[in-house]
């Protein structure tokens, strides 16, 4: 019966969280932190696919997050709410609860498409050129958003709270917890399935010896493309969830600092380790919140702490291992694929 252990655990966790939120045991602030954790897990695991498993150095993850955030926000606001920018809702707002996941996925697809555009030139280049191309892409995306006045330009875009209200008309449950949880689990499943397939093992082969991979029949260009698109697509979904969690987006919140945060989570967790990325995302989110009272000191303390951690564990928290490698007994308990 071990194949049911993980699903049961996840359902219990989700209902507990939603119950706690429903009965207002945990206030909005804590709920937001929990949501951020979920979103950061998507961010870090998806970036880990490119930077950890594939061994490339993508530095502009926030650019894809921004694309997903904007596309899904604009869609959901235009479709389900009355707004000054887009006028009356295009669809009955009651549909928001069903339409929202679709909108998120479209945001993810848009981000994946952007990822495709960014990745294409990077195939003719080597090593750290992907770093540059993604940094430049991050700049370009932010700059493009700033220059589109229709979606608020530098002021940002808002109205997503009303989408949540529209969903609550359907049923009054903490919707965002539900969606973040579902998409977090989905993206972990996607990454996990991808990396455990023979197809996905080609990604590891590329990292360890690209020449050998190509000669041993791995279509390296295609795999790189697919992997990069999965990574940026999931980042887009994280962006959509982020935008709807805080209710407004601003181009500045997707700058290179945000990309840096994603990088930190990946390398803190350990390159190529999914559980490492998850743990790092949770730890990092908590760290950001717990140290908030320190104000500006926080932004000295956190980097300092990270430098010190890296001095003691230069391979990240988990290295390239998974939890089940460290605690083999876990394998008896779960079968998660």
């Amino acid at each position: 019966m071990k194949r049911f252990n993980v699903p049961i655990l996840l359902v219990v966790l989700l209902t507990t969280l939603m119950g706690l939120a429903w009965f207002e045991v945990i206030d909005l602030y804590i709920q937001t932190i929990v949501l951020f954790m979920g979103i950061n897990i998507i961010t870090s695991t998806s970036l880990n696919l490119v930077n950890g498993n594939m061994g490339e150095f993508s530095c502009g993850h926030a650019g894809f997050i921004a694309v997903g955030a904007y596309v899904s926000s604009i869609l959901s606001v235009a479709l389900f709410t009355k707004s000054r920018t887009f006028g009356a809702p295009l669809l009955p707002p009651e549909l928001a609860a069903y339409g929202f996941p679709l909108v998120l996925i479209i945001g993810g697809l848009a981000a994946a498409l952007t990822g495709l555009l960014v990745a294409l030139p990077s195939f003719r280049t080597r090593d750290d050129y992907l770093a540059i191309i993604t940094i430049a892409a991050n700049y370009i995306i932010i700059s493009a958003i700033i220059n589109i006045d229709k979606i608020g330009g530098a002021r940002g875009f808002m109205g997503m709270k009303r989408v949540i209200f529209a969903m609550e008309k359907c049923a009054e449950i903490p919707w965002m917890i539900l969606w973040v949880f579902i998409f977090m689990v989905l993206s972990i499943i996607i990454i996990r399935r991808y990396m455990s397939s023979t197809y996905g093992k080609g990604v590891e082969a590329i990292r360890q010896d690209e020449v050998a991979a190509e000669i041993m029949s791995v279509n390296t260009n295609r795999i790189k493309l697919v992997t990069f698109m999965i990574s940026s697509g999931l980042a887009g979904i994280a962006g959509g969830l982020y935008a709807h969690t805080i209710g407004y987006v601003n181009p500045k919140s997707f700058d290179l600092l945000k990309s840096t945060e994603a990088l930190v989570m990946v390398y803190l967790g350990g390159m190529g380790s999914i559980s490492g990325s998850i743990i790092a995302a949770v730890v990092f989110t908590l760290m950001l919140e717990l140290l908030r009272p320190l104000q500006i000191i926080k932004w000295v303390a956190i980097p300092l702490l990270l430098i010190i951690i890296m001095q003691f564990r230069p391979e990240g928290i988990m290295g390239n291992r998974e939890l089940s490698d460290i605690f083999p007994r876990l394998k008896k308990f779960y079968k998660f694929k």
Binding site: F57, P121, T125, I135, I140, P303, I307
Partner: protein
């Protein structure tokens, strides 16, 4: 029309000088260590602040009697700043990067450490000096030369000439001196170099000295040209200079030098003809286009893989 173009070109050369000087530091460290030293932009900021304190001190702030004329203060500030900035750069290498290298960490962990070090420099500065911006003192009187309708300040000429001169000096060091040759040797084969009896750590420290002093110089020149200092001034200019270095062909100092000027020219020209909010959008699109056409950068040589 021609005059406007010429005026813009001069501005672009000045603006490109900063990028070039910073890109040189990036490319030196990258060439030797294959490390993207993301803290480099913030080293520039540190350089600007060091220059601010030295010059203020010499100009009679903080209770020191002012006994030197402005030009002498500047002449003293430049070398002092370069020395002190390189101390900061080398400290970073010794404290943060070298231990990681010794432990055999994946080089990307060193890159992340560099990113973190940059954040510490920025926010540490904010913490120590507060959020108020600093006004960089004026040490030499501004002289404006007028050619037709084109205006050139002595500062502008100074900046451009300094950038060119530093490149020439650097080029000489890299190609003609023993330590420069050692630097290039490390970039070819870092395993063989210690076997040849070359002290690899000394060479690396020297690389950081060179790179950081260039950053210090860029910091002073930037502060002289745009005399408002704030802790985040180095961040974006640093990222951009890195991109410039890659477009030039990272690891090659000619590439960094050229790349810096190319980025400067593109940015100024974009602002001259488009709304300034389009600057990043157009500039980076052009750079990406260059990289798509010439993936190794302008001066980069394609590496061949041996089987």
């Amino acid at each position: 029309m021609f005059d406007t173009l010429l005026q813009n070109l001069l501005n672009a050369l000045q603006w490109g000088s900063f990028y070039s000087l910073i890109a040189l530091g990036y490319t030196l460290v990258y060439g030797v260590l294959r490390l993207i030293n993301f803290a480099h932009g913030d080293i520039v900021m540190v350089g600007a602040y060091i220059a601010f304190f030295i010059s203020s001190l010499l100009l009679g702030q903080y209770g020191m009697p002012a006994f030197l004329p402005g030009w002498a203060v500047l002449a003293l500030t430049i070398p002092l700043t370069m020395v002190l900035t390189s101390v900061v750069g080398v400290t970073l290498e010794r404290v943060a990067y070298r231990p990681l290298r010794r432990k055999g960490a994946n080089r990307l962990y060193v890159v992340i450490t560099a990113l973190m070090a940059g954040l510490i420099l920025e926010n540490g500065n904010l913490l120590l000096l507060g959020a108020s911006r600093k006004k960089f003192p004026e040490m030499i009187d501004k002289v404006v030369y007028k050619f037709g309708s084109v205006y050139v300040t002595n500062l502008k000429i100074g900046v451009i000439l300094t950038a060119i001169l530093s490149f020439i000096v650097l080029h000489f060091i890299i190609t003609k001196t023993k330590v420069g040759m050692a630097m290039r040797a490390i970039s070819y084969d870092k395993f063989a170099v210690p076997l040849m009896g070359i002290p690899i750590d000394t060479v690396i420290v020297f690389t950081f000295v060179l790179g950081s002093s260039m950053a210090g110089l860029a910091g002073i020149l930037f502060a002289l040209s745009y005399p408002i200092l704030d802790p985040y001034m180095g961040m974006s200019i640093g990222w951009k200079a890195f991109i410039a270095a890659v477009v030039g062909g990272i690891g090659d100092i000619r590439g960094a030098f050229a790349g810096g000027f190319i980025l400067g020219i593109i940015e100024i020209m974009v602002v001259a003809f488009f709304p300034s909010s389009y600057r990043d959008l157009i500039a980076f699109s052009i750079l990406l286009l260059i990289l798509t056409v010439k993936p190794t950068g302008l001066f980069g040589v394609a590496q061949t893989t041996k089987i």
